[in-house]
Amino acid sequence: MMFTTKNVGAIHRSGEDHARAVCSSSSAPASIERRVPLTEASAIPERIEAIDRGRSVAGERIRAAVTWLFLAVVTVLVVTPMAAIVFGAFRTRSPGDPRATFSLQSIEAVYLGLFNGGWTQSATLHTVLLAIPVTISATALGLFLAWAVTRTNMPGKRWFEFGFLLSLLYSPLVGVIGWTVLADPAAGLLNGLWSALTGASDPLFNIYSYGGIAWVMIFFFAPYAFLLNVGGFRSLDVTLEEVAAVSGANLFKRMMLITLPVMMAGIAAAALFIFTLALEQFAIPGFLGTHVQFDTLAYAIFLRTNAYPSDLPGAAAAGTLLLILSSIGLFAYRRLTRHSERFVAVTARGYKPGVTELGAGRYVLFGVCLLIFIVGIAAPLIAVALRALLPVRTMTFDPGSLTLDNFRVLFSAADMLLGLRNTFYLAFGAATACSVIGLVVAFQITRRKSLAKSILDYMIALPIGVPGTVFGVGMLWAYVRTPLYLTLGILLLAFVIRYLVYSVRSIGGALMQIDKALEESAAVAGATPFKSFMFVNLPLLRPVLASAWLLVFLIVMREISSSIILYGAHTVTLPILTWNYLNDGSYGVASALAITQIGIVGVVFIVLTRFFGADLRARAAE
């Protein structure tokens, strides 16, 4: 267990495990794990303690006070939007309206509406019908790919490992545009190809359908399950499988009886992560579903905040419903990983990655993975790129008609530069703030436990289980009457509160692995705590900091669920612009924007991984 905050609260625990799986990055450098035994340091622990004690009598109090102060601030920031959403659900009118009173009308509309055909009925049904199968399929697909890449002798593994992570670089709208271009029933390229080949007049695919929405979501989320389980497969003690093999279990039985159950904590964390994302995902079902009246809760909430006049109490009340759904996910997660603590104590040292020799099967597996890559990632990406270069939507492809017009339109739009600047401020700001605050908090939490630190740890993890849409509505209710409203500040605040936990977890995980003797030897050598931090910890933490920074950067660059509720005319971001272009029917410009964004994110990604040693692949739940 990385953090011991037992008995703090069931929901929190889940969030915590979840975060641990999501964030305990594998990028702790080898040098951290190679613990250096320092005989001088261990020979005089009493002396160190004595020094420590002498120094800390006064310092201890100050430090405790700082921790409590920090805790108070974090608690207020985290709890406010949550409390606001509950408060809002019981109001009759928008915040600040003098005629607003308390009433149950919104709550009734939302909850009774579930049974008597209210606006939440079909939305809730659709949300659940979408979230559960998508979570299961995306998790299974991601797991399969992670296994293929880490534990088999399939050719081209390294290449695939990179390829399957590509979709982390772009927003869900890329899948939406790509699949619209490919599988629009009237004008999709695939459908065009199909009728050209067969002469059939009925389209082969229709992306504006339940199946189409689920399809796009599955491929968009599967890379998360992949990312979160690659490390798990790598760090699994393979002798556990080998002894099962010797005991008579074939590959399938080993997988079902040993490998997957042992990795259950990590798998369940990935599933929970995807489930929450599926609940808050409004762009994919929102865009593809409007054509067929397929609404979801997240989208319906967005509409309530976006319509004129807006219905913020209704949005808040529905937000509580979405929150309940995500809590059910947390509950399921808790059931699945009930016993995972006992897995921790038994890890052997020095195992090597066990690769299953597949014989000719490796080529079959290669084919399957290639197909998944093409269908899930390459095809929609190419379709978007193509669309960006085409002036109008066509069912056929004529190389002569390629132009850069869409990019020209895009870059001459005033919004574009504004959005670019805003997104950059937000992504750099949130990533930097999360890394710096994360470093401070992680340092406080990991070294020396106290009640305040446990609660702090808990508070920081709390927003994890909250769907972005709900968080957005909460922030709206809480800050709508403050000057913060409609500024970049509210977006930045929302992002920092939501994503701080990621950096705290990854940095904390790495800090735990740094042998205290390293610091102590620096202290014995005469370094002040600050110097020893700069000299010992910071260099060791650099790749972890880079990874945490990159993770938050990537998430913010593509965030749309809560920003769509909080943005204003001057605070548009790139994903929101893409969304708006798309809804205006400017597919070409939206595509050009999506491609531009992929380019920008790609450059940052390469710089961070190449020059700062960032590595997003998470280690399994430890």
Binding site: T239, V243, V246, S247, G248, R342, V346, A348
Partner: protein
Amino acid sequence: MASISIANLRKSFGRVEVVKGVNLRINSGEFVTLLGASGSGKTTTLRMLAGLERADSGTISVNGSVLNGEGNFVPAHKRGMGMVFQSYAIWPHRTVYQNVAFPLRMKRVRPAEERAKVERILELVELPVAKFGDRYASQLSGGQQQRVSLARALVADPQVVLYDEPLSNLDARLRESMRTLLRTIHKETRLTALYVTHDQLEAMVMADRVCVMDQGIIVQEGAPRDLYDRPANQFVAEFIGQANIFDLSDVSREKGAVRLSNGISLNIPPGNWPNGEATRDRKLVIRHHHACVLTNDAPAGADNLLPGRIKDSIYLGDRIRTTLTLAGALEFVAEGIDGPSTSDIGKDVIVAVPPQFCIVV
């Protein structure tokens, strides 16, 4: 019960060949240890026998049926073996009972029989079901985990049991008692076993036969006593027990004598010569405790006397280790229950080495 025969087994990882033609026969019911330094290829050999690694060439057969040969590879789960790993490899998500019962479930043994077998085997490893059956690995000590692992390897009456340094993670006292337990179990069951270790004492205590492995080949095999008394080469002499090893300037088998580099000649009885003709690079091996430092005059008619000067003397409790300098600056170590004391340092003495303890390799 099964006999194993391994012929000319080879395995490379990348360009490095780590097993370079191992030949080994294990008779039915025999307990053989594979002893060797770290990195000598013991684990790799064992894993090929288990089916966890595919051999590059050579054959492995059990009871005459080929498990790994030309175009033929029986995977691990079809070999019916039991294996104990150094890291225990207890499945953390299963209880002790479920861990042990797993091989039986794979064989589709009836529930009643499964229960009986698991209970019996857990009794044998001194982890009664009533007390330990429902525990998880994290609730067991290292020694208990290793006993679960042992029970799991033995429960399904495997043809062969394989051990890869099963005791090396345990502390000295526990290792001793586990060793005794293992011996008892194997005396009782007479299962065919291959036991990998790098601890020479363990190898000798446990085994009917010890195979010494060095750099991918088996350099000598035999009963523990044979290996100790008649090492086949310098590696075995040094790896098992401690010995003085001398270069020889003259070797004459006909005369039954060798000459050390300092000109002193020693008699070697006919039985102490190696097989084979080559006379170059022969070495003389004399175990530390086979030499006797004579502080008084040598008895009349004694053979193989080496004059030297005492350089150091260390009291080790149960014996005394004396380091001497012989003519020609050769160093010699002798150990005995009695010997010179520190006050004797610098004295000139005679070391007597009975000819039967002088071995040419």
